[in-house]
Symmetry: D2
Subunit: 333 residues, 4 copies
């Protein structure tokens, strides 16, 4: 970590900062630059809080060299983490394809869709029982009844399922029934929820926030890991940019980047990223080519009647087409 | 609302969409363009969910003309909302200045700071008892003990106080003691929390999310209003852009924009927006000049010892300087 | 095109706007909404300039339904454009791989690199003779001498080459020697340059600006096409977002989007997008999987001695590895 | 400047980098961290090109401590630069208000508008003779004829004028007649144009690019200064963000930031930033409150007939209202 003093900072202020730094449990090297003094802090600086140093008006800036996360870092955990969910493995070369509707709507819908996506090669089922909706007037999900329908679809097909927990209140019920618990993009920095997930016995699917840097993304994973839950799967689902042609901008460079920085598996959600069913297949293929550990795809047996996100849902036969295209890419990679 | 068909959509598909639209409780005008058919939907379209229409592959796009919020809209509520918090009013020409430390740290700190900021003209106190921190290893706030210290500072000075609720769990305790309850930027779309806030008897300070559009911001306010709580104060605190010189980018154009779109009061948080104490005063002046209904400013009696956000905290005397500068602007406006 | 009047606009103002619109050569449908009047304009609205209508204070907004570009639009030109550059074709199923150093530095470098990239399967050579550099103190390129070295490399290998024109002044010299002329991201809206390119007999490689929407990107292509030059190849090279881990954020969803909107070929530059050589290969594979018509890759025989962009340049053998990986993806797609 | 080696970089690679750095004319301090080796480079690193070092696969990153600009930096030039344009001064406490139409359209328009804006207190005239337009089908400006009309308006009122140079070709003609030459946002990194401006005898108004960081903005100013022209005025005119309610997002925090980093004057263009005439006055007031050195405002005597940007143009009487409001803010600051 570097503490950079301002050009022309008085000698006594430089010394004052030096003395404050010496109180911390790190080694300090002072570098006298052409215009500025710089302190280099060596040691375990990940947990150091230098806010108070920054408030000195003669300090220009603080530059972090080391990553602020430890448990999520590949530096301290070189081997890929493999998360097991029933028979389904994700990470370390194991590819998972999660498919299903945006919202759980009926037993017929869930069992029918689950059967079809399994037949096309999906390894896990998705379906929202509690739905985060921009509008208070939009369908908010079936809640606990929806969970029961997911359980029925699992019983009918053997597919484990993932569903979203929007808050701490409904977490217990979801934890009891779900195989994998999703924390959505809007809740990526809902710290109460992250802490609860850290105490869960179930693996967590953590979606990247719409404007989250990689560091923030991994720090949110760190919350869960630090709480005691080692089973975290990351998910890129598009970030917010100036471009409005697609709902969000899918950031596929995040996949090789996360692979460098962290040992955690990362999957891609092309459906939410683009918001248009016609672009899901090409983006799914790109996700596999770039090295993602899996996909999560919205599939609805009748998108024109979907209560949520119909525009980005694939019909089952289109999902079948996607699966065969994706499998060719997986084979090529 | 407009439903735009794709160029070259088959006549039967255009008719199919027409029939679907006719099932909705709106009037429909069909416009035959040079290349495309367009349906114009007239009536109360705010609550219409057209996701399923969008999934028709011959529909190019849906364009919303009307705002999706109603309770937050100035169209249906032309007069400015004035929120009363004890003796302090915000909105409709009433300016509030909220000041205090980022985190509650000790009784001495809170009472001392409250007394000083009151003497310089602040009308409300701020202080975080529950702190959202990017790192799980950073100070997470004093919790309920912090609430008690805020109550003591209120007793000592008469200043009402605002503090943040990070989730539904601690909401009851905060609601009992706080005068104004903050929902932070990271929780702007934490819908469980918004629903809880909608049932609260206390006014809510809703901060804009880092990448929230104005529509999303007002839709989150709509959640609270639709829940039955009419007392919502909005707060601009900087958005996330490509620029990294300041912590966030303060978007002051949002003030006149919100004034056009909504009747709700809106204040500005220059401290979190810029992250540098040296820029707080000029941005506070600009906020007043552009028409904001108030300010929320971080003040710490000893920023170099602050447990959080010391870099952006003003010393009390600097806050005094800011207040006199700001008052000149208010007088000029 | 839609002209949306404000809620509560006086009847006489609505009529005034109506009369103004009637002066334009389009058909008008007036839609009376619940709160607002809306005029729908039908006809050839692409060239309509409605700035003056927007200045009426009772007009809320103008919504464009039709695309503002015509020559670049797939609507009016359904078949893929195929650009031919010597023996190399791009578009309509023809994949091109352009490779070479960021800057032309010496004859030995250019001929050596050209020979190697050709042996690995590249179909065109790249090399900058005129370099756009952020700093006035950085190496600005060899200029005309650099062009001569590119010509020598072409003579030695038979590979056609692309090089950048930074302005109108050096355009003639570049046009005379180059096979394909690049307009860089920073010049995407340099209209003098676009107009010059429109009069050129050589094909143009137009890179997307760092913050260009798809519409702006295609409007810049429209400038060239409208000038009389039908041979435009688009290039996605990363956009600017809040994320700083990579130099820019590669937007691969732009590929299927452009394929829907336009008939022009589009290639991908993963080197500039990420700025890190280690991420070039996975992103190149993703670009092929998502449906791009080609790649442009920085290759330097000795990146540690490169005068420019060494960090993102591949060594020739790494480029060879990339080519075999990419060819497997192409076969799979 | 810091060169950070990767965790686990082999000792011989660390030494190899050390030897490369020793060839540069700077002092080097090696810091052995807990996981990583870091080299600190001390001396005049502004002109150092470390691209080649970055290409070493064992180098994690390079962190620049010092600013890459020198002539534009306040460090080396503490006093405010004051630019004189006829009788009009900008910077160092001198406020300038530039007003006029987006495009020059007729003699009557220019002389009439110039007379009116002067009567309301404007100190300089603006008007575009060469217009950068997104669409090739939109009005492109009157060219040299427009310059003549600007000259006539100057003769009639005594107001100096600013107009935009879009490229090197028309620069001579503009330089001959204009008092201040604008380089537009889209050309902020048009280096041929910046180099030409550096050789000009006339002061330059450099607008910030839509996605330019402060460092890039100042580096573009550095191009002009390094060319020999010391008279550069910066202009903030809105940046591109995810928000679409306003045309761009006015970044007023850039004003105090630039004041810290540079000695150059900086003005604000609220008209282009918001694109809506109703928001121009509040943003102009905010710009003055935050410390800008001036304003540039679009005024048209008949916005509904303007050939360009009518939506954001003020009528002269509204400009008069703005001027009196702004003057109160200036007095208060």
């Amino acid at each position: 970590m570097l503490v950079v003093m301002k050009t022309g900072a008085p000698q006594e202020e430089v010394e004052k900062v030096h003395r404050r730094l010496e109180q911390m449990e790190v080694n300090i090297a002072k570098i006298e630059g052409a215009q500025q003094s710089v302190f280099a802090l060596v040691g375990d600086t990940a947990k150091l809080d230098l806010e108070s140093i920054k408030s000195n008006q003669h300090v220009e800036k603080i530059i972090r060299v080391q990553q602020p996360y430890k448990l999520a870092s590949r530096t301290f955990h070189p081997a890929d983490t493999v998360v097991e969910i029933g028979d389904c493995k994700i990470g370390g070369g194991n590819i998972a394809v999660i498919a299903g509707p945006c919202s759980v709507e009926s037993e017929e819908q869930m069992v029918h869709t689950a059967t079809l996506v399994k037949s096309y090669g999906a390894t896990m089922l998705r379906g929202g029982a509690y739905k985060p909706r921009t509008s208070p007037y939009a369908f908010q999900g079936m809640g606990e009844d929806g969970l029961q329908l997911l359980v029925k679809a699992r019983e009918a097909t053997g597919l484990p399922f993932v569903t979203e927990a929007m808050g701490v209140e409904a977490f217990d019920a979801i934890e009891e029934s779900a195989d994998l618990i999703q924390i959505g993009a809007r809740n990526m920095q809902n710290y109460d929820l992250l802490k609860r997930a850290g105490k869960s016995t179930k693996p967590i699917l953590l979606k990247r926030g719409l404007s989250a840097t990689l560091e923030e993304f991994l720090m949110s994973a760190e919350y869960i890991l630090a709480g005691g839950n080692p089973n975290v799967i990351l998910c890129e689902r598009g970030i917010r940019t100036f471009d409005t042609y697609t709902r969000n901008t899918l950031d596929l460079s995040v996949i090789p980047a996360i692979k460098e920085l962290s040992h955690l598996p990362i999957i891609v959600d092309p459906s939410h990223a683009c918001g248009k069913w016609s672009m899901v297949e090409p983006l799914a293929k790109a996700a596999m080519a770039v090295g993602a550990d899996g996909l999560i795809i919205e599939v609805h047996h009748n998108p024109e009647k979907a209560l949520c996100d119909g525009a980005q849902s694939l019909k089952p036969e289109k999902f079948g087409h996607l699966m065969s295209a994706v499998q060719k890419i997986i084979a090529a990679v």
